[in-house]
């Protein structure tokens, strides 16, 4: 749904979105990476399991929650790191091992 307006930066990093390697730039966050994916959604809600996508991008709405390195966080507040794993969360998460 979103695209970069500039050429890819030479110092890009690799993150994994639902297991797929994806290029990202230092300075951006997990939510902006998710906004570049073919399907625009980051989770299904714990209440009705409907799809949601980032809404406010400034830490207010909590709709951009997704699993980043195993923790369910606001992706708009999660700066990318090389090797970061980002996974869409389906419904209520399970923490039982």
């Amino acid at each position: 749904m979103f695209k970069k307006i500039h050429d890819p930066s030479p110092n890009s990093v690799t993150v994994h979105v639902d297991g797929m390697p994806v290029c990202a730039e230092p300075g951006e966050n997990a939510a902006t990476v998710l906004l570049r994916q073919a399907e625009l959604w980051v989770r299904t809600t714990p209440v009705s399991e409907k799809r949601r996508a980032p809404y406010c991008m400034m830490g207010v709405c909590f709709d951009c929650l997704a699993l980043v390195d195993g923790a369910l966080v606001q992706t708009c507040l999660a700066p990318v790191r090389d090797g970061m794993t980002i996974e869409r969360q389906l419904g209520r998460r399970s923490v039982a091992s």
Partner: protein, 466 residues
């Protein structure tokens, strides 16, 4: 370990940075914490990285100007801890925060909340669908990632921000499918008496706005007097329906809709702290009660910037400097006369910086359906409670308030803690019960007011008692 500083500033936007610079000049020991990884706040987000790139031109001069403030802040000698979430403030004041998954506390001579604003929650049918975002969000995406929509986008809203973003998007090579101006019919006439003051005080800003409007009207499909919008789709937005004041309705293909209905001050921290708040009927929102230095009803806790009332970056910087002066006065670094003398020019500049505000507030006053949406509209995005659900409980005997509605419906109990539904629930109750919104009140804010995990709380040292 509890740390101690003279002044703890929460937020590294225009107000927080300006206050830090001024407080350092007064010789205070200053710590600035901010949830973003770099300074700038939302308005100047990521500015250090963007300056010097082609994106700087797209974002414009008002954005570039922020670099000067960021550089002064960097050089000020204030300690700066980014990527920090403040989740509780206690009388003292004592501030609890998390950084790198470790919780800690700071005791401060004074706390300045420079936590800015959020976009006004503007519920309409379908606003939870993927494909609906705020204009502010889309602008942040340009600033942080250099990203724009990859297909023609619809913009619906009212206020300077959607105009600015639309112009920036065109400059960046983006395409706009249509601009739905939701400014109410007749607002121009109501706002007109305040135009002269605005034009005299901020002529360049007013001119800029007129030019943006002219650009848009020339280059994109521009529909005025839009009174209703609806996002339609199943897993994501597929169509957009809009209705104009004249009753004309159209349903169009749309996969991305950006919405904006103004800003409201951030009040979660001051609500959690039990500060008294005042209803601003010009901005249809609350802000903490402040004295002439920005001090709240809680001793030693100050607010500056858009958190004190929406005023924009220039006003935020000045409010930051005024608050720093008040804090220096309270700390005994300067006396009453010095403080008054130092503040006088700041206050004059602040008045000028705010001179366009009454005009803008009047012109861009949101339409009624933003406050009291239709029954099928989701009021609480987190717990998925619709307007009808809130109304049904409001019909109970005893005129229930927001906290009862929360207990009955779970509206406001989700992760955003009511940031997206507090005003909506209050407005629906006021409407259903024949009361004024400020008489209804808001949810009690339960701590922690920012995310904190059990493991993080467990790290808070028990010897850390304040």
């Amino acid at each position: 370990m509890t740390r101690r500083v003279d002044l703890l500033i929460v937020g590294a936007g225009p107000a927080g940075m300006s206050a830090a610079v001024a407080a350092r000049q007064y010789g205070l020991d200053v710590l600035v914490v901010d949830e973003q990884p770099v300074p700038g706040g939302q308005i100047w987000r990521n500015i250090e990285a963007v300056c010097g790139t082609p994106r700087e031109k797209i974002l414009g001069k008002a954005y570039s100007e922020g670099l000067w403030t960021v550089r002064r802040f960097r050089a000020s000698g204030a300690a700066y801890e980014p990527a920090t979430q403040v989740w509780q403030i206690e009388p003292g004041p004592r501030v609890l925060m998390t950084r790198d998954k470790i919780a800690s506390s700071v005791e401060a001579g004074a706390v300045l909340l420079a936590t800015g604003a959020q976009e006004r929650p503007a519920p309409f049918p379908g606003w939870t669908l993927p494909g609906v975002m705020t204009v502010g969000a889309a602008q942040i995406v340009i600033k942080t990632a250099g990203q724009i929509p990859d297909e023609p986008v619809w913009i619906a809203g009212s206020g300077p921000l959607p105009l600015l973003y639309a112009v920036q998007l065109l400059k960046a090579g983006g395409r706009i499918a249509g601009y739905l101006d939701t400014t109410q019919k007749g607002r121009w006439m109501s706002a007109l008496p305040r135009f002269a003051t605005a034009a005299a005080g901020a002529p360049l800003d007013m001119l800029k706005g007129i030019l943006w409007l002219a650009t848009l009207r020339r280059r994109v499909r521009y529909i005025s007097n839009v009174s209703e919008i609806e996002a339609i789709g199943d897993n994501a937005m597929e169509r957009l329906r809009y209705v104009t004041a004249s009753g004309k309705s159209e349903t169009v293909y749309a996969r991305l809709l950006l919405v904006h209905e103004g800003l409201v001050p951030t009040i979660h921290p001051t609500l959690a702290l039990g500060c008294t708040h005042q209803w601003n009927s010009d901005q249809d929102s609350y802000a903490a009660d402040l004295d002439c230095w920005g001090e709240t009803s809680q001793n030693g806790v100050f607010v500056a910037g858009d958190g004190a009332g929406i005023g924009g970056a220039k006003a935020a910087c000045l409010r930051g400097e005024i608050a720093a002066t008040g804090i220096a006065l309270k700390a005994g670094v300067i006396d009453d006369q010095q403080a008054a003398r130092l503040a006088r020019p700041l206050r004059a500049r602040l008045a000028r910086a705010l001179s366009a505000r009454p005009f803008l507030d009047s012109l861009y006053r949101p339409r009624r359906s933003i406050f009291v949406p239709s029954d099928e509209t989701v009021a609480c995005r987190c717990e998925e409670v619709n307007v009808a659900g809130v109304r049904a409980e409001a019909a109970r005997a005893g005129r229930p308030g927001p906290n009862q509605i929360k207990a009955f419906t779970r509206a406001g109990m989700g992760p955003c803690q009511g940031r997206q539904c507090n005003y909506t629930v209050a407005n629906i109750l006021a409407d259903a019960e024949g009361r004024e919104t400020p008489d209804v009140g808001l949810y009690r804010v339960r701590p922690p007011f920012k995310p904190l995990t059990l493991r993080e709380l467990a790290t808070l040292d028990s010897r850390d008692a304040g």
